[in-house]
């Protein structure tokens, strides 16, 4: 086991399947024999609030359920406003994986708070950290609704980036999503790996 472990923040808004993502990932790392702690911070998620999951795997017992700002290896985010909330938590060599999807904030929708003057994607691009940005609009597919399955797309992307066994990961997807969604999920997963292959080569 060369990789001694990582601290990951998984972020997004209610309904994006963040808990499924962290659940699938946890199954994977458990199989590899890692110790894990996963802490879910759920706002009023069902109603458009932010959701964040602190995901830690390690070859030693994990102590704190929360990752300290500055100790985050990866921010994996499904919504770009939420991505912005965690940029400062990354290590210097930490990496951002984010969707450009945006669920506008109610406080801005209703005029109670100012919108950010700048494009959020641009702010993310300017970050000194390494980043991988997926625009779901560029990857629409007739086989599944990418806006609902970004979580599994991202899982494929992440697995490719880490050079993990896709067979193992797909097996975990198979075992953990309801029967009738398995095929769609696997397609989404493969789409994620393909986007990653393209980008990783480009970089």
């Amino acid at each position: 086991m060369q990789d001694t472990g990582k601290n990951i923040i998984i972020a997004g808004v209610g309904g994006q399947g963040i808990l499924l993502f962290s659940n699938l990932l946890s199954k994977f790392y458990m199989k590899l024999g890692y110790e894990l702690k996963i802490s879910d911070v759920i706002g009023l998620g069902q109603r458009g609030g932010g959701v964040e999951s602190h995901f830690r795997y390690s070859n030693k017992p994990v102590l704190s359920p929360f990752i300290k700002a500055g100790d985050v290896d990866y921010v994996i985010s499904f919504e770009q406003t939420e991505t912005l909330r965690f940029l400062h938590c990354l290590k210097d060599d930490g990496i951002i994986f984010t969707s450009t999807f945006e669920l506008s904030s109610t406080s801005v929708n209703t005029g109670l708070q100012k919108a950010m003057p700048e494009s959020k994607t641009e702010i993310i691009k300017r970050s000194e950290n390494k980043k991988f940005i997926i625009d779901p609009d560029e990857h629409k597919s007739p086989d599944f609704n990418i806006s609902k399955m970004m979580n599994v797309v991202m899982l494929g992307y992440y697995a490719e980036f880490r050079a993990y066994s896709h067979d193992d990961m797909i097996q975990i997807v198979r075992e953990n999503v309801p029967e009738k969604f398995v095929e769609g999920n696997i397609k989404a997963y493969k789409m994620g790996t393909m986007i990653a292959v393209g980008e990783l080569v480009a970089k």
Partner: protein, 591 residues
Amino acid sequence: MKMMNGNEAVARGAFEAGVKVAAGFPGTPSTEVMDYTQHRYPDIYCEWSTNEKVGLEVAIGASFAGYRSLAIMKTVGLHVAADALGGAAGSQINGGLVLVVGDDVGRIAGDDYNDVRHYGNMFNIPVLEPSDSQEAKDLMVRAFEISEEYSTPVILKITSVTCKTTGRVLIDEDYAYEVKCREKYPVSFSKVIMTTIMMKAKGSEHPKLTKCFNDFPAHMKRLAEDSNDFDINKLELNGKKIGVITAGTPYYYVKEVLPEASVLKLGLVMPLPEKMIRELAQHVEKLYVIEDGHDILEKNIKDLGISVIGKELFPKFPEMTRFTPDIIEEKLVPGAPKRTPQEGVPFRLPVSCAGCSHLFISQILRKHKIKAAADVTCGLIGCFPHMESYSLQKCMGSSIALAHGYNIAKDHKENFVAMIGDGGFWATGINGLMNLIFNDSQSTVIIVDNSCLAMTGGQNVASSEFGFNYKAENKLDIAKVCEAIGVKDIVTVDAYEFKNLEESILNAVNAKTNSVVIVKKPCVTKFKLPKDTPSYIDQDLCSKCRKCINVGCLAIESKRKNGSVEIVINEDICTGCGLCSTVCHTEAIKN
């Protein structure tokens, strides 16, 4: 070995403790303790009671019958059940009696500036606090043993962090459930009876007197003494510079941020192991208390005459009620780097699910400027500044009595309306209704019958058509109960019939009598109601008045597109309920 979150682990602990009865009322973060217990361990009788007080009383009765019993609630729920706990505290316990109470520290999702440990101090009963899932399971079993050994109810404090953190739990896969029964005491009375007997009959050994008497202060003294040897309190003597007394998840923050520190980790946070604390105090130069919630350990330790540093360094309330590793590092690790978050990232005000019946009611109240009180329900979104449908909102079940109080004070010159959920109604709101009837008041009550406790995830209520112990013949009928109570004017309407609903509410408000409007529509999220074709906004007609946004529906967004702002409906979220089109004066919203 299994991965479990704190709630799952507590349920497993209940199973391994041989619990027979679990009763309670939902509340974040501990609701799932009951769900897991009911789903996984069918040997245990489970019920969602009408409210926490009833739930705890059920558990107390079962405990007197000799069986290990469990009451589940959040800390605000224990406020409701506090009288029942006061009755049980200090009395004879047959089957272990444990309350699992969730503190929503940090207000991650809830409404809490509460700390359940106050009840430990007030009623002189033990409180246990786990730091992770493994301990949640183990302490659960321990709690029952302590309850029986020291004849006392025991509180297991869990928090939003322990409840929602998943970690490894070692379990005995082959464990076979074994119900525990212990009928030690023939009677069990509240302290009033015991103290009366004690005062009248000093020195008498007559069994008729002694059987009623439970020397509870002595039990607690013995527990405090014994706790110095409990393995659930761990004294880790390391460096001499810094000592920390801690409990719960902050223990792990301390271990990570201050690996050199000497630490006393309390599993039993009340009563305190005095000897251990003194030993640590002598070992270190500086002694800190790091505890989530209020400064309770700190005060209790100071009461022992031991000086510790707590809130003077880590200001509590209202600045901080939940620790993070970052806070500890900032204060106790010199030169720790400071990280500043991105500026100006907007926050998210809560909104309702698309198609929610509450939005229809909020909209009608706002449209007609009807003053109203909201209860604790999904509908309280209508209190937020983007909606402004309600002007008064307090605790669960309160809105009916709040409105009654307002109306009598104003000599019924206004009709201040109460909105309440079906859950809030059965919980305690029904008392408010009985009260206003027999006190000859006139008020209008809107009961939102969505067939569940929606805000906590859709648990059953007395009028639901599902639930742990559901039988059609036992389902309570809101309209019939209101009628029996004596409400003069009762109508039932479908939330989606906007005109009809509007008229019904206006009629009720204007009638000079007491009235109930029952608004029926199953919670769209819990019951996954089928969706209609989503609505869309014709951008050529939209005047950007933003009225539709203030309807409070999750599906309506304002989006920047090519430099200008568009109001759009998210078609993945919209249910096509049509509410937003009722507010659009340019008829831009189409279906």
